[in-house]
Structures are given as structure tokens and as C-alpha cells.
Amino acid sequence: MNPATQTETREQTLARLRKLAQGFRVDIIEMLEKAASGHPGGSLSVIDLVTALYFQQMRHDPKNPAWPERDRFILSKGHAVPAQYAALAGAGYFPREKLSTLRRLGGLQGHPVNTLTPGIEACTGSLGQGLSIAQGLAMASKADGDKFRVYCVIGDGEMQEGQIWEAALSAAKYQLDNLVCVLDYNKGQIDGYVKDVMPLEPIADKWRAFNWHVIEIDGHDFGQILDAFDEARRTKGKPTFILANTVKGKAVSFMEDRIEWHGAAPSKEQAQKAIEEIKQS
């Protein structure tokens, strides 16, 4: 839960979120450098969205991760889990020291595992599966009197999986206005740019045709992110799809929009340079 938010002005809120995200970006780089493997591009593109969820939007209690009425967040593009770990540690789900165990034997897993890490709601890492789980949570929540909302982040490459479209179709059937699917639209995947690998456009039209309420935003602008989540809350009878335009590797110049930084860890020197840039951003 976010007690701070009650007394803040909007400007203060936005400044607070920006500062948090900046710190989490540093965490991401440090984690990946230490682990010597992992996925910086998609972690840096999604971290602003994740920060807004955990530190403004969602009702949750880090001291009670099993609280039945907590809002749920599912990172369907599970390879970006360093972003989620940074936010979970920042929120107090586990000690920050744990971040340095990323990808080590017995440490934080390379992809999200709900049975091992507090705050994680599902196992993801095989792309395409998270939105269906989110849908199921949303259906159960509705049946229980709309006790909680459900947020799911998917990748653009991930949107090529057929299962995403099955969930899109059926979430609309059940009029899940407690479900928000956010697309981290960073335009890159592994083998190249999305437009070359398997074009997706027109994305907004597709989701609209599937009977979702569609909102397009800049996924690095906290004002737009918060407004979109509020609009989703006010939308009745339909699930909401937030098309968040993002930059893969955001805030690190040599990673931004570079496909080769999808799944490569920075060296010590690169990490230092990246952290300096993040601190300037």
C-alpha cells in the first residue's frame, strides 16, 4: 500500500516515481553485471511501468505477500524479472542484499518463480503464458465481488504467441474490466526488430477489434502511465490494453534500441558507464 501518496501533490508523486525508477535501473545494471548474464534491454524498458504499479497503482502489502485481496501483477515477459526484483526489494518484499544472488545457485532465479520468491505471482519465462493466468485471477476476483485488480505486462515479441490472442479473445468475453494488459512496446526482440521478425501493426486496432479498451502512452512518462491506469479503473465492461511505447535499454545510451543488448550482461566498465548515465538521466 502507498501511504505516502495520500499527502503528495501530483508533481511530488511523479518526482518520487522517477527517483525510484532511477535507483531500480542502477540495481538492474548491478545485478546483471554481477550475474554476468541476463536481459538488460527489456528490463530497462519496463522498469518505469513496474515502478508505477508497485509504488502508486497497486494495493499490496510487502509484509503480507499472501494477502488475499492484494492486486496482482504478472510479468509475462519473465526474462525482465530483474526489473521486478529491484521493485520488490525496494518495496520491502525481501532484503536488498538478495539482489546480488541473481542467477546464482540457490539465489534469485533467472526467471520468476512464485514458489520461491515473495511477491511473484506466477512462473513465467516461457513467453505467452502470463496473460492467461492474469485472466484467471481476474475472473476469480470478479466472482468474489471484485476484490482485487490484475495487471499483466507482455512483450511485443511475446505478442506473436497464439496464446496471447486466445486470452485477448476470452478476457473480452468475460468483460474483465479488472484486468489491464500492458504492452512494453520496445520494438525489439532477439533475432531483430519486431517489424522484421514478425510484424504486429496495427496493434491498437487489433486489440480494439478484440473488444478491449485501448490506451496508447509513452511508457517512460509517469504522468501518462498513471493517467492510463486511472482510465483503466474507470473503464467498465471491458479489459484495458495499454500500448506503452518504450525504448529497449532506456537510459543507457549504448544499450538504447540495440538488439544485441537483449540478453547480454554488461562488463564492469560498461556497468560503470551505464550507472553514471542513469544517474545523470
Partner: protein
């Protein structure tokens, strides 16, 4: 000693064979740099199809292409592609389509990514399908030989490759023989049956055991299906201490199960111990994980000693 990842060998071999076999087409699901199908893609852009992250569709598309005379090699991580079981079951196995499934990143040998990316049930799934051949090469020579063989094979086949380098265990001039296990080291005190990423450790364990007077037969099972039951029955009869199987895969449904089935049906009452993954994989360096799950030479040696009592 030569060491190479079998995924790399796949990429190089298929790119070479592409020159003489216009019927080869290669499809990948956004992992071409990892499965190494990119080596073919660069050379034959017109016969390479980037399907995006849609493994299920790729399987069906390959079945269609096979129906029009192509030999499609479809590539992804073993867990993701074998995970689309029903598509494989019906479109490839039942339809007896000439499609080669190339599942890379076998087992915990991939390391840090953790269980979600580690193919650990793929052999079990693929073995259970009628018509489906299952091959897991133990070194570079075997991998190249297996791929050449697959150009003449009739029906669907699954080829499992590793992310990590494998030391060469076969001699220069090695000839791949489909369905035939390869005895790499002689011995009659105990037999070690290994496959893929664990073969090199089994060979090293043989040397370490020999130093203390234990003679372990080492059998490399590159073809898991059809399985060389004779090799297991023979080892069960001849090796006093029994058979230890070791695989970077669940112990259920893979090599250990194949050996157990052969021994039981062959009426051989040999002792059997299965080493592999029980439960889930996890994150760690490849070396750490091979040590942890006792799939490396030291682990295999220790398990053999314990098995012999």
C-alpha cells in the same frame, strides 16, 4: 582436445548440407542466434523462415512444407518446442511428416536462465510418440553424422543439442549408426550409460574409477529411440555391479527409463540406478549445476562408488 557445442555443430552442418540438398528448409522462432540456425539463414535466406515467437504455428507450417517435399528443420529451445506437444503429436507424429525438430539448450547445462528455459522433459515427451525418432549426440562428430543421417530418415525426428561445449568422445573417422549405442570404454564391473552432455563426464569417471581398480563400461546412447535394447541387456548380463544411467534430463521417461524397460522386458534382473534431474532445474553456472546434480565426472564417479556399495 576438441570441444564444441552441438548446437554450433548443427548450425555449421546444416549450412554445409544446404549446398547439396535444396530440399532442406530451416525455420526458427526468434532464437536463431542461440540454436545457430542463423548460420543457415545467412547462407540461404530464401530457405530460412523466421517465424517469430510462435512455436506451435512453426510446427504446423513445417508439416505443410514437408507435405510439399521439403525437409524442414525447425529450431527452438527443447523445452519450448517439445512443449507444443499436441501440435507435434498430430501434425508431425501421426501424420508421419518428414520434419526434424531441433531442440537446443538441453538440460541444466544451459546454466543461469533457470528451469523455464531448460529442456528437461523433452526426451520423455518425444519418446512417447509413435513414429518419432529421438537423437541426442554426445560430441561434434556424432552430431554432424546424425544430421547427415536425418536427410535420409523417413518420418519425424527430434534432435537434442547442447548450449555448452562437449569434449570429443569419439575417434576421428567415426560413423554415426542410427539406433546403435556406442561402447566407448570397456569394463565389466559396472556399466555407465550416458547421453548428450553427460557422456564426457562418464568417460572421465571411467578413468578415475580405473585408478582404484573399478572397470566401468561406458556406453554412449545417442539414439534414445529406437533404443538399443541389446546394448542394455548385454551390459546387464555382463556387468556384475549393474547399470548406472546418467542424463541431463528428468530421470523419468528418458535414458534411465529406456534402460529399465529393456532390462525388464529382456528378463535381465540387473541392478539399475538412474542419475539425472529429480524435480526442477534451477539457476546457476553450467559447471555449478553439473556439480550440484552430479552430472559431471566427479559426481558420476561418486554415484558409481555409492551404487557399488
Amino acid at each position: 582436445m576438441t570441444a564444441k557445442a552441438t548446437r554450433q555443430v548443427f548450425g555449421e552442418t546444416i549450412a554445409k548440407l544446404g549446398e547439396t540438398h535444396p530440399e532442406i528448409v530451416v525455420l526458427d522462432a526468434d532464437l536463431s542466434k542461440s540454436t545457430k540456425s542463423d548460420l543457415f539463414a545467412k547462407k540461404f535466406p530464401d530457405r530460412f523462415f523466421e517465424m517469430g515467437i510462435q512455436e506451435a504455428n512453426m510446427i504446423g507450417v513445417a508439416a505443410g512444407m514437408a507435405g510439399a517435399g521439403r525437409i524442414p528443420f525447425i529450431c527452438s529451445f527443447a523445452c519450448f518446442i517439445a512443449g507444443r506437444f499436441d501440435q507435434i503429436r498430430l501434425s508431425l507424429a501421426y501424420g508421419n511428416a518428414n520434419v526434424r525438430i531441433v531442440g537446443s539448450h538441453a538440460g541444466v547445462g544451459i546454466g543461469e536462465d533457470g528451469y523455464s528455459q531448460q529442456g528437461l522433459e523433452d526426451i520423455a515427451c518425444m519418446r512417447s510418440l509413435a513414429n518419432m525418432a529421438v537423437i541426442q549426440p554426445g560430441d561434434d562428430l556424432e552430431c554432424a553424422g546424425a544430421i547427415e543421417y536425418l536427410l535420409t530418415h523417413q518420418g519425424p525426428a527430434f534432435l537434442r543439442t547442447t548450449r555448452q561445449s562437449l569434449e570429443r568422445v569419439n575417434a576421428e573417422g567415426y560413423q554415426f549408426q542410427f539406433g546403435k549405442a556406442v561402447q566407448l570404454r570397456e569394463g565389466a564391473d559396472v556399466a555407465i550409460f550416458a547421453t548428450g552432455g553427460t557422456v564426457q563426464g562418464a568417460v572421465r569417471a571411467h578413468e578415475a574409477l580405473k585408478a582404484s581398480g573399478i572397470h566401468a563400461r561406458v556406453v554412449n546412447v545417442h539414439t534414445l529411440k529406437p533404443f538399443d535394447a541389446e546394448a542394455a541387456i548385454k551390459a546387464g548380463r555382463e556387468c556384475k555391479g549393474g547399470i548406472l544411467t546418467v542424463e541431463d534430463h528428468q530421470i523419468i521417461g528418458g535414458l534411465g527409463s529406456a534402460v529399465a524397460e529393456a532390462l525388464a522386458e529382456g528378463g535381465v534382473g540387473a541392478r539399475l540406478h538412474r542419475v539425472g534431474i529429480e524435480g526442477f532445474g534451477e539457476s546457476g553456472t553450467p559447471e555449478e549445476l553439473y556439480r550440484h546434480f552430479q552430472l559431471d565426472a566427479a559426481g558420476i564417479e561418486q554415484r558409481v562408488r555409492r551404487f557399488l556399495g
